[in-house]
């Protein structure tokens, strides 16, 4: 029950973010689903293996796959689903923790937090780029076959 509630939070969080970023009304639900996909993957892997960076990478891949497929179905840019979908797993909190540790003069903790933050951001970006490059490759090879 608790897990289902946690998953629901990912859905709601992404949906609210999509409203604040002025997404069109008909896409709210799909943005929420994008968040749900990423959050389920991230949460499950993170709680089972406690490897945050790996979990972030796999979550990013899941969100990116969902977004690229959805973008083709809904005929909108994939970014819309991507940005709202990665919102729950994005390392914003890590960046905040880093600054707070610096302010509290806890420099070794700041170093750890800062490293995790940049590693998570890098993992996210790499996950997204991997998937979107793959889809671009498929796109261009399809076009070549047509002509």
């Amino acid at each position: 029950m608790d897990t289902i509630f946690t998953f629901l939070l990912g859905f709601l969080g992404s949906m609210f973010v999509s409203i604040l970023y002025h997404t069109e009304k008909k896409l709210f639900l799909f943005c929420g689903l994008s968040g749900l996909v990423g959050w389920i993957i991230f949460y499950t892997i993170n709680s089972r293996t406690s490897r945050v960076i790996l979990a972030t990478f796999l979550g990013a891949i899941a969100v990116a796959l969902y977004s690229e497929i959805m973008a083709r179905i809904k005929k909108t840019p994939a970014t819309i689903f991507l940005i709202t979908g990665i919102f729950p797993i994005v390392p914003g909190v890590g960046a905040y923790n880093t600054i707070i540790s610096i302010v509290n003069n806890n420099l070794s903790e700041a170093a750890v937090n800062g490293f995790i933050t940049s590693a998570c951001a890098g993992a996210l970006a790499f996950g997204i780029i991997t998937v979107s490059s793959l889809f671009r490759l498929i796109n261009t090879s399809n076009k070549k076959n047509l002509t």
Partner: protein, 247 residues
């Protein structure tokens, strides 16, 4: 169509995209697509803070335009509409007047009402505070502070000289609310309230986008975005920490 008109159209579309928080490659692609739709050759160099466009017309005349962009907000419906516009144009080019009218109507499109956005940002704050280990009380306080921060920032944004102040003030507000709430409910898990209420301002997405830009080859905008994100989170964290010293 005149080369200068093509350049104006491309400039408008690119400006709209950057102002709505689109990725750099999409901006440059859109500009090139619009130019080639009208038979001109366009070359664009986009940054998060400005665009340079050069359009070479059919008769060999060249026009260069520069746009400076000061403010960016995330607005996905504009990105998707400009994207559709560029696709329509490249399939069936319309006249300059029509196309410009189309872009201006996209630019002037209204956002959702402020009241709804305030409530939604409160709701988002409570969801994220639950996600980071808060309970029911924490979620309710985050709901209040999320909405309050949104309303205050929305009302004082026009008098602030730069965006960093906005983040500093959000941080200070959030700190004050946590301080007061801590006096009333001593058992509170303050961290979850703070994270929830400032989650919308935390630059996690900005850092990720910066690295994405870097991987796709836009090194300059990657550095610009990451630096901007670092400044934001520093301002935010400083705001919170300065107030919480008095706890």
């Amino acid at each position: 169509m005149k080369t200068s008109d093509i350049a104006l159209l491309a400039q408008k579309a690119g400006e709209l995209l950057i102002k709505s928080g689109a990725e750099i490659y999409r901006v440059e692609e859109t500009i090139n697509r619009i130019c080639s739709a009208y038979g001109a050759c366009g070359d664009a160099f986009a940054l998060p803070t400005g665009i340079f466009i050069t359009v070479k017309g059919k008769c060999g005349d060249t026009i260069t335009l520069t746009v400076r962009i000061k403010e960016r907000v995330n607005d996905f419906s504009k990105i998707s509409k400009v994207n559709n516009f560029s696709r329509t144009v490249s399939k069936s080019p319309m006249s300059f007047g029509e196309a410009m009218e189309c872009l201006i109507s996209i630019e002037e499109e209204k956002h959702y009402p402020t009241a709804i956005r305030a409530i939604v940002s409160g709701a988002a704050a409570s969801v994220f505070s639950l996600m980071f280990g808060g309970g029911f009380t924490e979620a309710m306080i985050a709901l209040l502070s999320g909405s309050l921060i949104f309303i205050v920032i929305n009302n004082i944004r026009h008098i602030l000289t730069n965006q960093i102040f906005e983040y500093l003030i959000s941080g200070i507000l959030c700190g004050i609310i946590v301080l007061i709430a801590g006096k009333i409910f001593p058992q509170l898990y303050a961290y979850s309230i703070i994270i929830g209420s400032v989650m919308m301002q935390l630059p996690g997405v900005a850092i990720t986008n910066g690295i994405r830009d870097g991987i796709s080859g836009d090194i300059v905008s990657a550095i610009a975005r990451i630096l901007e994100a670092l400044l934001w989170v520093t301002a935010l964290g400083t705001g919170v920490a300065v107030v919480l010293i008095f706890r």
